[in-house]
Amino acid sequence: MAVTKKFTAGLKFNTNNVFPNAVSISETMTVTVDGDAATSGSIKVTSSNHIAVCTADPSAGDDGDGLDSGARAFVFVKNVGTNDDGDIEIEDNANARIAHLKSGEWAFLPFMHSSSADASVKVSGASATAGYAEYVVIETTTTDY
């Protein structure tokens, strides 16, 4: 019998003075995981590095060729460096910037394979100054919606 794996993520927002009335959001989702890749770790990067943290095959290491065709992965990246370290950027397979993280900031996004190109989620430094990132990648599906 196949083993059903689960991943739960919860997100909370509280705002003060951003909107006319305070906004409070609390969301939780539980996702069934049938992908074949899950990895976590930390890396040191500069703008000369474009390290793929999302691979089709964990045994391929962190420079693998991206997600399985049609796959999706939840990707968490946090800049764990200090203010004196470099900023972190998240990029797609073509090294196009998706997100920019300063010290202490983090992102959480469901990244999907693009049918037109291999899909790697890459982490890079924003400058020549070394930056430090923690990441968690969970491939949730091996087929597209």
Binding site: K6, L11, K12, V18, S40, A96, I98, L109
Partner: protein, 142 residues
């Protein structure tokens, strides 16, 4: 006196079986939002791209999107302007879909304007596999 606009966000990730060592990670951060742009609400969407951000974002912004569609099969796709297209007409220069959300799923994206668009527009675009709805929140940082 300038107001102090703070946003506190926290995320927990848990699983007992997808990583050999287990996954139990919680993070939080408090950021100062600029006074420039903030949006919060719901948007009814169709199967054609619609631009999520209605106001120009000059530099960095956090974007929260949740698929709140009432029909369980609606999938929301997210794309953004290409970084290298040099486009000047926001909404017409979409890159490939980089993210999809099933009903109930959410994303938190810290976006940095790439500066390639003369309009300095953030350029995040959403569409559904059928008519659906999203909840979203945008606040500019810098």
């Amino acid at each position: 006196m300038a107001k102090s606009s703070k946003v506190t966000m926290s995320l927990t990730m848990r699983s007992s079986d997808i990583i050999p060592t287990g996954l139990d990670r919680s993070v939080s951060m408090t950021l100062t939002a600029s006074d420039d742009t903030s949006e919060f609400g719901k948007m009814v969407i169709g199967t054609s791209y619609e631009q999520l951000d209605k106001s120009a974002i000059a530099d960095r912004a956090y974007v929260y999107i949740k698929n709140t569609s009432s029909t369980s099969t609606v999938v929301i796709s997210i794309a953004m302007d290409e970084s290298s297209d040099g486009g000047t007409s926001a909404g017409n220069h979409k890159g490939p879909i980089f993210s999809q959300l099933a009903v109930g799923e959410f994303a938190l994206l810290p976006y940095k304007d790439v500066g390639a668009q003369a309009s300095s527009d953030l350029g995040i675009h959403v569409k559904g596999s059928a008519a659906g709805e999203i909840e979203y929140l945008i606040f500019e940082l810098d």
